[in-house]
Amino acid sequence: MGLLNKLNQPYEAGGIILGTFEDILNWGRARSDWYLHFGLACCAIEFMAMNASHFDFMRFGTIPRATPRQADFIMITGTVTLKMAERIKKLWEQMAEPKYCISVGSCANCGGPYWEHGYHVLKGVDRIIPVHVYVPGCPPRPEAFQDGMIKLQKMIKEEAIFRKRKKLEEETKIELSA
């Protein structure tokens, strides 16, 4: 392996990597996503398999967090009832920017089997919080979780941090002047 053998001489023969600052920041952000797991139903049971050694969710650089303040993204796995929807919204508001949401399973995506007669079910968690990645399935296989995670990483890697900050500043200026 090229780079590892040359750690002793970092400035000789290809020891320097060139790239934009944004790329390197995003590379780091995409590979250390801490998550808040909001398990509600059978999708959360499937998520146990995802966390176990066979599928090993942690190799994506994810660490489960018990508090929304430390989490980068929230995983909604299961049926969102109207009673629980308010709690989810509160947790989402407590998370620090930048924050993302993965909606897992048919229930969280669109109400699933409760779409017609589920008087108590919120028909899709995207009605209360923004969702960045939808994972279909009832419940999804761990492979689908992996695919969702890769999609989220890809999204983070392509994100414009600095332009976004500038854009946010402009937006707040407009709000302040208005």
């Binding site: 109207l82 669109c110 008087y119 108590h120 919120l122 028909k123 209360i128």
Partner: protein
């Protein structure tokens, strides 16, 4: 003790409060009783030697259209016999005495029947909703229930 013997003994003791015995094989036979005397009947069934129904297996609410009904499945650990009691109350005044003081397991069962069907169990120490949010309107498992358009500014229908 068979269901017929239980029925005969109850009929002797309570007379008009025991309305009829419905046999419906292969389902369990059930005894229809008057709602007002359900507490006394259950007390007798639990404590009288020979009955000793020490276990309330299930208490469920039903919507029969014009009436509401509560069904009690009782079991005796000692004698291994069981009995099904049914009470029927009108929908506009659905009041049944609570059996929570006889079997403590009835506490949550009665709260569930109150929450979803809307039967009011008189004498229950804490009759509040158990599954739906406290400010939910209506009783969702009634046949004529219509789901709300909005709940706390969240749209309910698909």
């Amino acid at each position: 003790m068979t269901i017929n013997e239980i029925y005969e003994q109850l009929k002797e003791e309570y007379g008009d409060s025991i309305i009829e015995l419905i046999e419906n094989p292969p389902c369990d036979s059930s005894i229809i009783v008057k709602a007002e005397s359900i507490f006394d009947i259950c007390h007798t069934l639990r404590d009288k030697p020979g009955f000793e129904f020490d276990y309330l297996m299930c208490l469920s609410g039903l919507d029969l259209g014009e009436n509401l009904s509560a069904v009690y499945h009782l079991y005796s650990m000692k004698h291994s016999h069981k009995v099904v009691l049914k009470t029927i109350v009108p929908k506009d005044n659905p009041k049944i005495p609570s059996v929570e003081k006889i079997w403590r397991t009835a506490d949550w069962h009665e709260r569930e029947a109150y929450d979803l069907i809307g039967i009011i169990f008189e004498g229950h120490h804490n009759l509040i909703r158990i599954l739906c949010p406290y400010d939910w309107e209506g009783y969702p498992l009634r046949k004529d229930y219509k789901e709300p358009e909005y709940y706390h500014e969240m749209k309910v229908p698909y």
